[in-house]
């Protein structure tokens, strides 16, 4: 392809441009080199590996075509991971988004100690997932604060961490607890951009605070809500740390905390000859995330237009 002929330039201007280009490429070189080595090549390799049977130790690979996918389709663990992760997304994403929105709107109204509240609320987001999981385990294990309190005050005994019905909900709770403040700050920043006059005009028309919330804050924040939902969706589909730590790496009890990423980790590092499966699952996960965020986009967009 031929580049369009540049407009006539003075020699000096052209020399300046060449100098700019040289500087630009040298500025970009380290970033591009690292991206190529550790992101682009690995991504291409993942696609290649997902279609092969790989033995990392001997370096042998043989064409497997869609056999990896077929194996996944027939594997109970895959379906367990699918179920758990989907449930996880469906519970955590709406919960953290609405709680974050609620808190942000409350903090945006005329209240005392706003700065203090925001600073304090942010604490769980700062804490690493590892430390947060430790603290939650010490709240919910058999001798933990919550379990003990339930037992002494209500006579209820729940083994939160070893009961397959409870382990995943505890991780969900932990996730909502630690990501909500992050999104709250995003919403808060967005709310401060909404012009005060909009609220004042509606108040003059006799609308109460709740009506104003639904008719001004929510529509004005729609782009941010979409952003938070998307980020939450991507993050939740990739949940790993909490499930890994809480279950000691095996996704137990009874596969109830087995997530997609935990299964990828297993195929890649815990079982032999299954690197191809790990990559196939990673590619599948990517497609699921892309599909889900597309779906979200359609739903949110149509909602927005109907309003």
């Amino acid at each position: 392809m031929k580049a369009p002929t540049p407009p006539p330039q003075s020699l000096r201007a052209r020399r300046a441009e060449n100098k700019d280009a040289a500087a630009a490429w040298s500025f970009l070189a380290p970033t591009l080199l690292l991206l190529l080595l550790f992101t682009v090549l690995p991504a291409l390799y993942a696609v290649y590996a997902s279609l092969h049977k790989l033995d990392i130790v001997s370096g042998q690979s043989s064409w497997a075509g869609l056999k990896n996918l077929q194996y996944l389709w027939e594997d109970d663990k895959f379906w367990a991971a699918c179920r758990n992760t989907t449930r996880y997304v469906l519970v955590v994403v709406p919960l953290q988004t609405s709680l974050a929105l609620l808190l942000a709107c409350m903090l945006n109204s005329r209240i005392r100690f706003r700065r203090g509240f925001v600073t304090l609320f942010f604490l769980p987001t700062l804490t690493s997932s590892a430390a947060m999981t430790m603290i939650f385990m010490w709240l919910f294990n058999n001798d933990g604060l919550v379990s003990q309190a339930l037992q002494t005050h209500f006579g209820i005994t729940i083994r939160f961490l070893s009961d397959p019905h409870w382990a995943l909900p505890i991780i969900m709770l932990m996730n909502v607890f630690s990501t909500t403040p992050n999104y709250m700050v995003v919403f808060l920043a967005g709310l401060q951009e909404v012009p005060r006059s909009l609220y004042e005009a509606m108040a003059l028309d006799g609308a109460g605070p709740i009506e104003r919330h639904w008719r001004i804050s929510v529509p004005q924040l729609m782009p941010l809500i979409f952003y938070v939902l998307t980020m939450g969706l991507i993050g939740c589909f990739q949940v790993f740390d909490q499930a890994f730590i809480l279950s000691g790496g095996d996704g137990g009890p009874e596969d109830s905390t087995l997530t997609f990423t935990l299964l990828i980790y297993h195929f890649a590092f815990k079982t032999y000859n299954t690197m191809g499966l790990a990559c196939a699952l990673a590619v599948v996960l990517t497609l699921i995330i892309l599909l889900a965020s597309r779906l979200l986009k359609t739903v949110v967009k149509s909602e927005g237009l109907n309003r």
Binding site: A21, L28, P42, Y45, A46, A130, M134, A189, M275
Partner: protein, 272 residues
């Protein structure tokens, strides 16, 4: 706003504040108990102010892991802020063929989830002979496309006159960048630095994959490994002391740069 509603609002916020604080207070209180107190249970407050658990963990591998995390996080933060900003500046202010296309490509790459690349990237790391080294963590954490994106948006609205003046004075692009552009971008650099430091300090999966010898563990990974040991003897005071220690540096950074951070947060958004 009616008075009742104001009370309800403050009540709810105070309640949520209490809910947020409880796990952390519980962690700090537990860290001051003795193993016997933990085993007996039934008490909220420790019998005495005892920092023995902290002394005990810091004498073990914990001190080393803490130092490992600190050195990796600081190295990544400083070099990553520099290289991201350099790249963003080139994309925003320098005219060169392919610049726009390159930027679009970056926006596509950002969508590839880390799980897809992390395992093959491990193979690259191993091939380069970097398995089980901190350099592997540093090199694979250095580029942040979202930071590049944020800085590019920042530079696009930059005033051009000073830059032009420097150029006319015969400054090279790099000199202009270091002497003129960087100082003017300080608040944005601080925000970027907090997010990058927090990301590396709290990262769990990457060290788990790349680091195998105990001496090279980062703090998050070490905390998990140590907790597995301590859990057998139900030494939750030690686990809580470790967790508290791991939160402190990031808390200090946050409180120190709080003012900066909340003002600029809207440019970077969330995503942990």
């Amino acid at each position: 706003m009616s008075r009742l509603l104001t009370y309800l609002l403050h009540g709810f916020l105070l309640g949520y504040a209490l809910l947020t604080l409880t796990p952390f207070v519980w962690a700090v209180l537990s860290s001051m108990k003795s193993v016997q107190e933990i085993a007996v249970g039934g008490r909220i407050l420790p019998l005495a102010l005892d920092f023995g658990a902290y002394r005990q963990i810091l004498q073990g591998d914990f001190g080393r892991w803490f130092f490992n995390s600190l050195s990796v996080a600081l190295t990544v933060t400083i070099s990553s802020v520099f290289s991201n900003t350099l790249a963003a500046y080139a994309l925003a202010r320098l005219r060169f063929r392919g610049g726009a296309a390159l930027f679009q490509t970056l926006l596509i790459i950002i969508m590839v989830p880390s799980q897809v690349t992390m395992i093959p990237a491990y193979l690259v790391v191993a091939r380069l002979g970097l398995a089980d080294t901190h350099l592997a963590l540093i090199l694979t954490s250095l580029v942040s496309i979202s930071a590049i994106f944020m800085m590019r948006q920042f530079f696009i609205n930059f005033r051009a006159e000073v830059e032009e003046a420097a150029k006319l004075d015969g400054c090279s692009a790099l000199t202009t960048f270091v002497r003129i552009v960087l100082p003017m971008a300080l608040p944005a650099l601080a925000t970027q630095a907090i997010f990058i430091f927090m990301g590396v300090w709290n990262e769990f999966m990457k060290p788990l994959l790349y680091i195998s010898s105990v001496d090279n563990y980062l703090l998050t990974q070490g905390l998990n490994a140590a907790a597995k040991q301590y859990e057998k003897s139900a030494a939750w005071n030690l686990i809580m002391a470790g967790s508290v220690v791991s939160v402190l540096p990031i808390l200090l950074v946050y409180l120190g740069l709080n003012r900066f951070f909340l003002k600029l947060n809207d440019q970077t958004g969330g995503g942990k």
